[in-house]
């Protein structure tokens, strides 16, 4: 039976990991705008070299 206890512990750990990941993603605004990033990704980047100051970090 002790193998079940081990398995339960492992499964809760794994599930807990996903829960933490979920909470992190909510807190960092991953669910706020579900449209623009998809469009943005398709833009050509030909001008990116002109502009080194752009950082992806957003401050609030």
């Amino acid at each position: 039976m002790s193998v079940i206890i081990l398995l339960i512990g492992a499964s809760i750990l794994v599930a807990g990991g996903f829960l933490v990941a979920f909470i992190w993603s909510v807190k960092h605004g991953q669910y706020e705008d579900d449209y623009t990033p998809g469009v943005r990704m398709l833009f050509d980047d030909q001008k990116a070299s002109n502009h080194p100051t752009t950082s992806t970090k957003t401050k609030k």
Binding site: A15, V26, D34, Y35, R40, N50
Partner: protein, 807 residues
């Protein structure tokens, strides 16, 4: 995500000689504005193209055809300089540290992926802009810029120069907390879902083995693990139910959260008792399940539309600033700083923000925003002009006689207290759900007294607590929550945005529908102008255009608009005959424009919306304005007529009376209605116990929309609407009837799932009241009832929506 019709984009292909604007795709009336091989409809569009070309941003035009926004109605002014006023600036700036300044602007004209591309390449136009990010669903742009190189006002002006006018309204900036609420709710759903799933998994062996698991130590481990997992759900996730029900109890009122909170607390304490005293498995799975499903239901129900505001007041209609004349110099000051006696300048198409006297210039005030009246009113020096009008023509100077907050228009707004509306909308199901908890409490009290009399104390305790757990009113409440939430989502897919779920229930009570005319049933700008008859030479065109330009009648303006610029024609003997037509001598030709008998057309049936043109006594042809009324308007009215009482209230004059009376009936039409009249009319209908739905679009309907049981704001682009319960895309107006049907269907779904959950509850209560509810039955019944009800409601509303709203 709500999708809106592009602001202005009639994609007409260049048939015949029609040229479309390279920038915005509108038809060019003449070929005056062109650059290389590209044509533009107006100077503004051409300017925008030049700016983009000079900054190497022409990829903007590669992604979509004609992505631009027409610049025809552009208001040129230095109105953004007010943003550099320190007190105003602070309200807009989100963050500033000397090197970087962060600001968020709302850009209602943003509508396609080209817009996103252009707005995210702002740094190419001005290197002081460090970064720009677009949130498309919210139509917001976050700009990071270097304030030592460019001021906030200049940033706003730069956006404006390429066609994205930031909407600056203090009301919209002041509210912000909603985002946090949705975030914490998502986290709560995550945690409770996690706990629910794991506890379910651990509860299974106990249920399946009928309470006797071989390995006792494992069983104990499961129990305590379940307890630990349930703790955050009980103390954190369910928190909003406790606070809300506590508030309602303090106000001596039972809201829907009271039975939920009771059920959660009862289930939790009963489970603690089971674990620590009886040494049995508890009902933690049920408890976490209740919390999880309730939170999910709430989440969907409260998923409001980010870009739509249902609670605008007069402030958001007014500009942020006004040009004050001080010792001959103009200065932009915030609206709230206007005092009595100040002299202000109002330019073409600017809103007059306060009641004021005209002291300089010629007033030509368009009150369509306030009254619905389409024709501008002439004002002479010394006359009083009420706030809310728009100046059309050259700039005027005004002397303010009342501060903004006390003007005629804002008074109207302040008089309405629409908060009473919510209480009257108690739904049958919600009321029952609320009292269901009480009924169960009474029942279980009776049962436990019965067992006390019988002398069986243990059963008495069980009979008191378990019914509360089993006969959980949540299933009842879930049915309404999920049905309405799903319904709101479907409405949203069809361009109909509901403020909250209560509106759906209110739909079924409506007996009377009141329409506004201008802007609601009619198109606000007459785009559907067409000419039939002999082909006009270019000189004749100029003549007709010149004549039409003399009059302010909507038809004349439409004709002038269609024919384009009139230059250099000599005009004399201009005469206007109200209700008939206009005539003048232009370049030596006698022209007349007007109704059939006025122009001299013989034996023609009088038709609405046709204006004839005659040159030197010869009838050349006629202009049609057939599309003034919205497409599908006649069908919609005829279909609704059978079931509902229809009225039409218009602030406009009664020129359309004969046409409309065939649809509404002569005694159901009211013209020349002031905003106050409209409000009073709705009140009077309600006094006769009628449930009124009002459809309107402008500020002039705002009072009536608030007063009516359901106020529907009809909007061209869903960005700017008066306070209302429903915001509806104009193109969906013809679907109004289906909306009613869908509302009926969703009521049926609620009733159906309600019956279903009653059956579950009766079975559960049957066992529980006898004090002999086996854990197995409870375990199967609870999740089963919840899951079947959730899937039943969502499935049924989906079917109903597919049948009724599609096509």
């Amino acid at each position: 995500m709500p999708k809106f019709a592009p602001v202005a984009n009639p994609k007409q292909q260049s048939t015949e000689s029609k040229t479309t604007c390279f920038h915005c795709g509108e038809v060019c009336n003449d070929h005056e504005f062109h650059l290389e091989d590209k044509y533009f409809c107006c100077f503004g569009c051409k300017t925008v193209y030049e700016i983009l070309r000079d900054n190497d941003l022409c990829s903007y035009y590669d992604m979509q055809e004609h992505p631009g926004i027409t610049q025809k109605n552009k208001v040129a002014a230095n109105k953004y300089s007010v943003l550099d006023n320190q007190s105003v600036r602070e309200k807009f700036i989100r963050f500033a540290d000397g090197n970087q300044t962060h600001v968020v602007f709302y850009l209602p004209t943003m509508h396609c992926s080209s817009c996103i591309w252009l707005l995210e390449h702002m740094h190419q136009m001005n290197h002081a802009v460090l970064q720009s990010r677009v949130d498309f669903p919210k139509k917001e742009i976050t700009l990071v810029f270097d304030e030592s190189k460019i001021s906030l006002g200049e940033v706003a002006a730069m956006l404006d120069s390429i066609g994205y006018e930031p909407l600056l309204s203090l009301q919209d900036i002041e509210k912000k907390p909603e985002k946090q609420l949705q975030k914490s709710r998502l986290i709560k759903i995550g945690i409770s879902g996690f706990a629910f799933g794991n506890i379910m998994m651990m509860a299974f062996p106990e249920y399946l083995a009928g309470g006797a698991v071989e390995d006792v130590s494992l069983q104990i481990l499961f129990r305590y693990l379940s307890l630990i997992l349930a703790l955050p759900v009980f103390f954190y996730c369910a928190g909003e139910f406790y606070t809300s029900s506590w508030k309602s109890i303090k106000n001596k009122f039972l809201n829907i959260d009271v039975p939920i909170a009771l059920a959660i607390i009862f289930t939790f304490t009963r489970s603690l008792w089971a674990v620590f005293v009886e040494h049995e498995g508890g009902y933690f799975d049920s408890m976490t399940g209740i919390v999880f499903f309730m939170l999910v239901g709430r989440y969907f129900q409260d998923l409001t539309y980010k870009t739509i505001s249902f609670d605008r007041d007069y402030k958001s209609y007014f500009p942020l600033s006004v040009a004050l004349v001080n010792d001959g110099a103009e200065q932009q000051i915030p609206l709230s700083e206007i005092k009595e006696g100040d002299v202000i300048v109002v330019r073409n198409h600017e809103l007059i923000p306060a009641d004021a006297l005209l002291i300089l210039g010629k007033g030509n005030i368009d009150y369509s925003f306030v009254t619905g009246e389409a024709d501008p009113v002439d004002k002479k020096i010394g006359e009083l002009i009420y706030a809310g009008g728009k100046q059309v023509g050259a700039a005027i100077q005004l002397k303010v006689i009342k501060p903004v907050a006390q003007s005629y228009l804002t008074q109207l707004w302040n008089n309405i207290n629409a908060n009473h509306k919510e209480d009257e909308r108690k739904d049958f199901v919600q009321t029952l759900g609320r009292y269901f908890a009480l009924i169960v409490l009474v029942l279980s009290a009776i049962a436990s007294i019965f067992w006390i009399v019988q002398g069986d104390m243990e059963r008495a305790a069980d009979a008191f607590i378990t019914p509360m757990i089993v006969a959980c009113p949540c299933a009842l409440l879930l049915s309404a929550t999920f049905t309405n939430g799903n319904a709101i989502r479907y409405f949203g897919n069809f361009g109909i945005y509901l403020k909250n779920a209560n509106v759906i229930a209110a739909f079924n009570k409506i007996t009377t529908i009141v329409f506004d005319k201008t802007g609601t049933l009619t198109q606000s700008n007459t785009t559907g102008t067409s000419y039939n008859g002999d082909v006009l030479s270019s000189e004749e065109r100029i003549c007709v255009a010149t004549l039409a330009a003399q009059s302010n009648h909507p038809y004349s303006r439409a004709i002038a608009n269609m024919l384009g610029k009139s230059t250099g024609a000599e005009i004399s003997d201009f005469k206007e005959f109200p209700g008939k037509g206009i005539s003048a001598k232009i370049n030596g030709n006698e022209l007349s424009l007007g109704a059939a008998e006025f122009v001299g057309v013989e034996n023609k049936t009088v038709q609405h919306g046709i204006t004839y043109v005659a040159i030197n006594g010869k009838v050349k042809g006629h202009f049609n304005f057939a599309n003034r009324y919205r497409e599908g308007f006649d069908n919609m009215v005829n279909n609704l007529k059978g079931n509902y009482e229809l009225y039409l209230l218009s602030g406009d004059n009664d020129s359309d009376r004969t046409y409309l009376s065939s649809y509404f009936g002569a005694n159901k039409l009211y013209f020349n209605q002031t905003p106050h009249d409209k409000l009073a009319f709705i009140k009077q209908l309600q006094a006769q116990n009628k449930h009124v739905m009002m459809l309107g679009d402008g500020l002039n309907d705002a009072g009536a929309l608030q007063q009516s049981d359901i106020g529907i704001a009809v909007s061209q682009n869903s960005n700017f609407t008066p306070a209302s319960d429903v915001v509806m895309d104009v193109n969906q107006l013809s679907k109004l009837e289906r909306l009613f049907k869908f509302a009926k269907a969703s009521k049926l779904v609620i009733t159906g799932s309600f019956v279903l959950s009653i059956i579950y509850n009766v079975i559960g209560l049957y066992f529980a009241l006898q004090g002999m509810l086996a854990p197995v039955i409870a375990a199967i019944l609870m999740p089963l009832s919840t899951i079947t009800i959730v899937s039943f409601t969502t499935g049924m509303t989906t079917i109903a929506a597919k049948r009724l709203l599609k096509k």
